[in-house]
Amino acid sequence: MLGRESNGALLAVENLTKHFVVRRGALGWSTGVVRAVDAVSFDIPAGSTLGLVGESGCGKTTTSKLILALETPTAGSIRFEGREVSALDREGRRAYRRAVQAVFQDPYASLDPRMRVGAVIAEPLVINADLDAAGRRRRVAELLDVVGLPERAATLYPHEFSGGQRQRIAIARALALSPKLVVLDEPVSALDVSIRAQILNLLVELQQRLGVSYLFIAHDLAAVAHMSRTIAVMYLGKIVEIGDADAIALEPKHPYTKALFAAALPIDLDRPREEITLSGEVPSPLAPPSGCRFHPRCPFAMPHCATEEPALRPESGRLVACHLY
């Protein structure tokens, strides 16, 4: 339901906001504020996937870092299993960090090249789990099996694996502490097309088997639609459309969501989707446009779009922030 089912959600994000103060100008004398994430709200139920899409710079990674507690919110709340994360005590925060794990885009950068794969996967276990060396070895073998790698992979180094296999290693490591939520920030973007389906299938299978929730971030709408129950589309720090993945994929409402579909392969070459080509570039988040942030590029912009910011309102079974509806 519209990605806003606060009761019973594993993760509930409300009005989450992150501003970065940056220096501007060649000498850095003046400062500006990047509103990287601006009053974003969504829920992720247990065992479910929320897909987050939007062009680079729209705030996807910042959102994931806020959830991973790698950044501190400027405003807003993150509730996990009903508890406010910012109010957790030391022990509570440790438990939270164990329960929320991440897999990033670049499997080359995220794995220490000097560590054997077994040690890479066992690392979170050393600090966080009551396992002896033999117990850790067993757990590593189990995790390798879960992600479809042979047990002897533990003795090799990351560079001895292909990109797809390295992403499997990163997934095994993320699963080591049996997390309840895994943030997947562009997990297949760096992989070859023929390998992407393997990893997407693995992620779906793991979710079914382990009941883990995902925050799935990508700029490929088709991959996001395939993976997610709910999709949130971001533009310049704001959610412009959020709701049931199938509904949005089959009939996008916000003009920006429609434009994002341009790069996807149509099911039927004879019936291409309604397609919008945008003019202009994504404006600087330092000086977002007034009113609807999308108005300078929107082919449907009306006079009041430049002055009045549209709120997220229910429309055809999802929420859309656009004056057309």
């Binding site: 299938n201 088709a222 341009a262 099911i267 945008l278």
Partner: protein, 322 residues
């Protein structure tokens, strides 16, 4: 219709520490005026090396074109002198690469770098050079072109830089435009804009275009023909519609089935098993055999190309005539 570009049995080898790689292994295709060929395949399959071979810019000394013909309007480019080839690259064949900064010099203004080829290949002088450069920037819809001529590459966004490269590419105007993943580093809506622009320029100048991408959605929207590369060879080539509706080669089929599509919701995608091939250790047979669900005894030898419909050919024993 006579071909603008006619490539026959092109072969490029690269000498590496692990042995000699057949990066381009008998590639053939032809393209007419205003026609676009989409070149797809996973990374390392030889797409870039094919493009570089066409303009004889393979990384030497390791890489060498060892055979074949590349005919541009009937003339074999592989038989030209280096000086003739430089002229051809300046005027008749243009290239747009994935990273616009590999075509732009960071220390010169846009105007300065556009000026040189215009003076050299078009014999323009003085104010005429500046006027032409501004005109080209306007043609790729860069706002206030006169001002932009004074800008340096780092002052422009990625999308704008790629437009500048596009402006330089159409200066000829070329007979053939090779675009090697020109939009991969751009955002989706900017990609769509750029593709629209390239198609529009193609309509105006009627150049043939080779478009390298791994995005099949882009191929469906921009190309007339598609060539699917695997391990240095074109394993299937044909009209866009045929390739998407009746793919013949098991690799093409698997590729099409492995990408998620809207509205065709499935629990599982049909993944391609195994890993992309390592060109340094290829066997004698069909390179796709280790991953092919249909492989049989015959696949231990390499299949040759078989035509299965007008303009549609594949390299697979399943389609070979007995």
């Amino acid at each position: 219709m006579s071909s603008v570009i006619d490539v026959r049995d092109l072969r490029t080898h690269i000498v590496t520490r692990w042995g000699t790689i057949k990066a381009v292994d008998g590639v053939s295709f032809a393209l007419g005026e205003a026609e676009t060929l989409g070149l797809v395949g996973e990374s390392g399959s030889g797409k870039s090396m094919t493009c570089l071979s066409l303009v004889r810019l393979v990384p030497r000394p390791a890489a060498r074109i060892v055979g074949g013909e590349v005919r541009l309007d009937g003339e074999d480019l592989l038989a030209k002198s280096d000086a003739e080839m430089q002229q051809i690259r300046g005027r008749k064949v243009a290239m747009i690469l994935q990273d616009p900064m590999s075509s732009l010099n960071p220390v010169f203004s846009i105007g300065m770098q556009m000026r040189e080829p215009l003076a050299m290949y078009h014999r323009l002088r003085g104010a005429a050079v500046t006027a032409r450069a501004a005109e080209l920037l306007a043609a790729v819809r860069i706002p206030s072109p006169e001002t932009r001529l004074r800008a340096f590459p780092h002052q422009l966004s990625g999308g704008m830089r790629q437009r500048v490269v596009g402006a330089m590419a159409i200066a000829g105007p070329p007979r053939l435009l090779i675009a090697d993943e020109p939009t991969t580093s751009l955002d989706l809506t900017i990609q769509a804009q750029y593709l629209g622009l390239l198609k529009e320029l193609q309509q105006r100048h009627r150049f043939a275009m080779i478009f390298v991408t791994h995005n099949l959605g882009i191929v469906a929207r921009t190309c007339d023909r598609v060539a699917v590369m695997y391990a240095g060879r074109i394993v299937e080539i044909g009209p866009v519609r045929r390739i998407f509706t009746e793919p013949a080669h098991p690799y093409t089929r698997a590729l099409l089935e492995s990408i998620p599509r809207f509205g065709a919701r499935r629990e599982r995608l049909t993944a391609i098993a195994g890993q992309p091939p390592d060109l340094a250790s290829l066997g004698a047979g069909c390179a796709f055999a280790p991953r092919c669900p249909a492989a049989f005894e015959r696949c231990a030898t390499a299949p040759s190309e078989t035509a299965i419909a007008p303009g549609h050919a594949t390299r697979c024993w399943l389609h070979a005539r007995a």
